[in-house]
Symmetry: C2
Amino acid sequence: MTHGDDAPIASRDNPRFKRLRRLVEDASAYRREGLVWIEGDHLLRALLARGERPHVVVLTPQAEPLWHEIRAAAGLGADAVPLWRLTPALMGALSQLASPAALAALWPLPPAAVPEPEAPTVVLDRLQDPGNVGSILRSAAAFGFRQVLALRGTAALWSPKVLRAGMGAHFGLHLSEGLAADDLAALRVPLLATSSHQGEWLHRARLPWPCAWLFGHEGQGVQTALLARATRTLRIAQPGGEESLNVAAAAAICLHASAASRSATD
Amino acid sequence: MTHGDDAPIASRDNPRFKRLRRLVEDASAYRREGLVWIEGDHLLRALLARGERPHVVVLTPQAEPLWHEIRAAAGLGADAVPLWRLTPALMGALSQLASPAALAALWPLPPAAVPEPEAPTVVLDRLQDPGNVGSILRSAAAFGFRQVLALRGTAALWSPKVLRAGMGAHFGLHLSEGLAADDLAALRVPLLATSSHQGEWLHRARLPWPCAWLFGHEGQGVQTALLARATRTLRIAQPGGEESLNVAAAAAICLHASAASRSATD
């Protein structure tokens, strides 16, 4: 009996490794490959908890017991998912983390969600920072927003960095990206925007539900043509003065305010 | 007349360059050097707007007109701050940004603030992510919190990454780091903590002012010994279900709720 098939990939010239590397290093490679890089046991558990099954699991030999624990907990058989074994050195070379994960997966990119006109929605207008985008996806999921529409120029939603910051929120949301501003015309819910210098005070406003919140580029904010479509403009009270808020912080405040308004009318 | 003194540093072996490199690459080097790396014209303007003066300005020859515009706007004479000129290649080697800044400064690390017992306060318990820490400093400044106390194990507050994410909030706050949990005993304001599964609903609570908010480690939350000292525990309503929030998002919601409670009683 030979264990030859179980020997981990150890060469950087291995075609599987090269393919993984492209997926990890190029934030939008998933669009061409149709596969998403899911790094770490937290994301992988979140994926399995939704009843999803990865295309392949990528792991070091040392991480095999962990994988078998995770897949058994999710009700998957030992051979339900093919394994690609990598040496710890190659696995580390794939990671952008200081402490690389020993376990990852490739998962087929889900088809883009068709925007639902009446769903509670978050619109992202050219947000640049993957950490901000991931944080907003987490807040959207926590506060009951069901779909996220990303306009062209926003960081790639399924990139490794956005996935990491999203902590699994991706799997519970309907995501659609690469949209044009005109695509928002299909929304049948009030469109809410924030302003630093005008509008109703957010903490005194009674907010509509469902609604769509609009968040914009870290430096430039929401583009003017889009702001003009907003049904209402809300203002976050900042008694500290002129300081600006991080966009993900502002989004958390707005999405929570919607959830709080909603529970007040329940 | 010679322009020899104006020739930019072009060698990686130059002692000034090596010193800058240590400051930029080692997140806590500022503690040994007593100097903080202030990268980019936004942070530099924010520093000058507070009446502060850098120790030295580091720039490419191409950025000199920009510097003279900034220092003139701040009322500083042409020779008020010594200039260290670097070639664009060396300046780029110092930056961790995709688009390196052409302008930076060294600023003497301000003395650690002595904790004020009655100031509106944010306590950071071993937060790891520089982006989260910077975002919380921005929210603290925007919502009228005056001091930030970081317990040992929290990301270095004056590191380049935290400064970048803080967008200038550092300069308006009293910051103290490396504290032990027992140092919080000196606080004379109510200590508020969040919980995902118990406590009063934040959006229905009337919050005390001044107060101190406690935010903990991204994975582990606030340490148990510290939680036991909290005067009140608040809970953020999350109708989306079990999803967790990013700690900087949760902090933004809590600090905004304090500001809103305060303005409701004005």
